[in-house]
Amino acid sequence: MEPSLNDQPAIDLKNLREISGGDCALETQLFKSFLSSADEGLAGLKEAQQKDDAPLWRRHAHAMKGISLNLGANPLGDLCRKAQDNYRADSEEKVAMLTQIETELNKVQTQLNALISRAS
């Protein structure tokens, strides 16, 4: 049985911190960049679902998967991987996937915004 997404923290920043060297200003920039890219990605997924555009859905899911994994937002990355793999799913299934992605993204956003606030 797959572990529940709830068992994992929304973000594991170990790898990113190794890259940033603990530079708070740099991390803040990276977090903001992630948030901006993720917003674009989510909007793209919604558009793709509404237009029933499977290639567009796959492209945005792939993009969101990449940035999520690089950030260390592994549950979100896993959801996006599932969305990418199931890009031919019907509209109803995509709505369900979108809901899961949006919920998980909210957790990531909350955590990142808290880190940004703390840094400033």
Binding site: N15, L26, Q29, L30, S33, S36, H62, A63
Partner: protein
């Protein structure tokens, strides 16, 4: 200029011509890859530099570095590193919506113009120099040049790339000659030249941050790192600069990273190509193997994975060039 600061996100204002001319020079010398637009002042409502900055700051904040040049009486110049099309479109929309003179009906393309510095930088430089010479020290312009400068105006909105890879990634004989000449110089260059091809700005920044820390010479020289989002831009840049190492994401906006990797390897089997992708599937790895890429790194990538690739490259090149390079990696 040794290094294009990718992570800076600094917005600088300039009121003299010197930094603008210096920027153009750097681009002409291929040491800088910033985008440049000019905004024609004649169409703008009266506005202070401060108010102008407030109007566009939010847009330029999405770029990595941005410079705004107010020295010219005719134009405001904006340069930035990062997303070309997105920033350009947002700038154009903001200028059209908020900064035009009242009652003015003019096409947005007449107000804000993208300047292709690679092809028209020299003409622009000459024109700016002329303007600088005409403006006395009190800042009043005495005699504006009547002739229009021959700026190669490229509108990113209209320069749609061909999405058929087989018809696009080609090189002229002259491009191949330039590439080969550059390639011969690789072991003797002062800086390690690396190209990042990644359409997701976050991942692009992360990778650039790792690369930024790489040192190859005992005198602590930083590498030259360039980052682009699209396959076509990457191909053109690679032909010009003969990068030592190219990092390629697979899912690019205008095509597959495999296509770019294959084109590079066909041009030069010794070129160092590293795929960095979230598509860590066996079939993707197989295509990469068939294209003879040098490494396949799955996202999330670590600092060590990237540095190991660079170390291998330096080590191989050093052995082939009788120890020209002295690598010191973090």
């Amino acid at each position: 200029m040794q290094w294009v600061e990718v992570m800076g996100q600094i917005i600088s204002e300039h009121t003299s011509f010197t930094p603008l001319l210096a920027l153009i020079d750097r681009v002409l010398q291929e040491q800088d890859t910033r985008h440049l637009v000019l905004i024609k002042r004649e169409y703008l409502r009266p506005i202070t530099n401060e108010a102008f900055m407030v109007a566009i700051r939010q847009i330029l904040h999405t770029a990595d570095i941005a410079d705004v040049f107010f020295a010219s009486e005719r134009n405001i110049y904006l340069a930035w590193q990062g997303k070309r099309d997105a920033v350009f479109r947002n700038l154009r929309a903001t200028v059209s919506a908020n900064l035009l003179r009242q009652g003015l009906t003019v096409e947005p393309s007449a107000v804000l113009v993208y300047v292709d510095l690679a092809t028209t930088g020299t003409a622009l430089r000459n024109s700016i120099q002329q303007e600088a010479a005409r403006i006395p020290s009190d800042g009043t312009e005495t005699d504006l040049p009547k002739e229009q400068i021959a700026i190669g105006e490229e509108d990113p909105d209209e320069s749609q790339t061909d999405t058929d890879p087989s018809s696009t990634l080609k090189a002229t004989q002259e491009q191949v000659r330039i590439y080969k000449e550059g390639s011969r110089q690789k072991p003797y260059r002062k800086h390690l030249h690396m190209l990042v091809v990644e359409d997701q700005l976050f991942s692009q920044k992360l990778l650039c941050e790792i690369l930024r820390g790489v040192r190859i010479n005992n005198n602590n020289e930083s590498p030259v790192i360039e980052a682009v989002e699209e396959m076509q831009d990457a191909w053109k840049l690679f032909l010009k600069r003969s990068h030592d190492i190219v990092f390629i994401d697979l899912g690019l906006l205008d095509g597959s990273g495999h296509t770019l990797a294959r084109a590079i390897k066909e041009l030069d089997p010794n070129a160092q190509v590293i795929i960095v992708t979230a598509n860590n599937y066996e079939e993707e790895q197989e295509v990469a193997r068939q294209n003879n890429v040098d490494a396949f790194i799955a996202k999330p990538f670590s600092r060590k994975q990237i540095i190991d690739c660079i170390e291998r490259y330096i080590s191989n090149t050093r052995s082939q060039s009788k120890g020209t390079w002295r690598g010191t990696l973090p």
